[in-house]
Amino acid sequence: MAYLAIFITYIFINNFILTQFLGLCPFIGVSKNSESAIGMGMAVTFVMGLASIITYLVYTFVLIPLNLGYLQTLSFILVIAALVQFVELIIQKNSPALYQALGIYLPLITTNCAVLGIAILNINEGYNLMQSFSAGIAGGLGFTLALVLMSNIRERMDLHPVPRVFKGVPIAFISGGLMALAFMAFDKALLMNLLG
């Protein structure tokens, strides 16, 4: 039950993009067509899941025993940067097809706020290993959902006459805002009703 709650929370209620403003740069930058949106979303979900596990282990078994909690930010970003590079190598070596699909998005992920964000959130919320992993995956899925919805909206918008000053990024922000309004319907009360 607790895991279901984590999934609903991070996909809908605390959607990373639409309510927490984490990962806005790819939300605007990579949402021009739905194919790349799905690729980016998958890559982010994958890295967020892995990063949640590894940062949790680093924090619990290295930083806490050595009393180095203040190095959290520094060590997390290093771990994430190394992890992204490592994942890129492995995928390139073992699965060229997957690399073709995700490859170009992987380098962008190191500086995606959502990845470092979930690592820090997991520690702040006091999740255990399994909960951290679920939160990472759920956060990634929420990110993918918002990105794919957005890319569909933008693909359709290309066919409509948009005032010249609003073309491109401004109208993307405004549609994002309207989408965030719709996502406000998901709140804690909904979770209570669903899970009692």
């Binding site: 995606n112 990845v115 401004p170 309004l181 406000m184």
Partner: protein
């Protein structure tokens, strides 16, 4: 093309404003701007990190091997972010709390890594320092503008530092009673950003037409 010192300092303010023109560092821009004071706190933190990381990267640009430059930059940036976190935790706990997760996330703010890559590793220490100050101020101004609009319409107040008798909160008569709450929420932030971006695009277009 050699730029004058003044140009380097001022290009970040308007012509290459990091938020409105280059569109970097959007997450904290929208995440923390529910109150003016948070915008100022975030802006100052970013100025500090940006200036010092620019200086250090410019100093070390001949020492860092090209192939590992990005991880090296990230370590330098993360070190300064940690300093800001500790100082703010000690001296401004309320802002530290309000900024929350966005304070450590300065590490992955694209502006800082972007300036390191695009400017500090090719230019002298003095130029990099000026660039850091200019870009940081441009970021701060953008943050204050967004925070001002969001707070005035969303809550009907302007929250600044509490000094002496002044509580730090200015109330706007009519709006305080009937605020448009949506402006302080995520949706309002995205809508406002869209309109502001369109407005700046319009200004740019008019300038080019002339």
């Amino acid at each position: 093309m050699a730029q004058s010192k003044k140009e380097i300092l001022t290009q970040g303010l308007f012509r290459e404003n990091p938020v409105f023109i280059i569109m970097l560092g959007l997450c904290p821009t929208l995440g923390v701007t529910t109150q003016v004071i948070n915008g100022i706190g975030m802006g100052l933190s970013v100025i500090f990190v940006l200036v010092f990381s620019n200086i250090f990267i410019a100093l070390l640009k001949n020492v860092i091997p090209n192939s590992v430059r990005i991880p090296a930059y990230i370590v330098i940036i993360a070190a300064f972010v940690t300093i800001v976190e500790m100082v703010m935790h000690a001296f401004a706990p309320s802002i530290y709390k309000a900024l929350g997760i966005f304070l450590p996330l300065i590490v992955v703010n694209c502006i800082i890594l972007g300036r390191a890559e695009a400017f500090a590793n090719k230019n002298t220490v003095l130029d990099s320092f000026l660039d850091g100050v200019g870009m940081g101020l441009g970021f701060t101004l953008a943050l204050i503008l967004i925070a001002l609009i969001r707070e005035v319409f969303g809550a009907g107040t302007i929250t600044l530092m509490a000094i002496g008798k002044f509580s730090g909160v200015i109330e706007i008569p009519l709006l305080y009673k009937y605020p448009a709450r949506v402006m302080t929420l995520a949706a309002g932030a995205l809508l406002l950003m869209g309109y502001l971006k369109a407005f700046f695009g319009y200004l740019q277009m008019r300038k080019e037409a002339k």
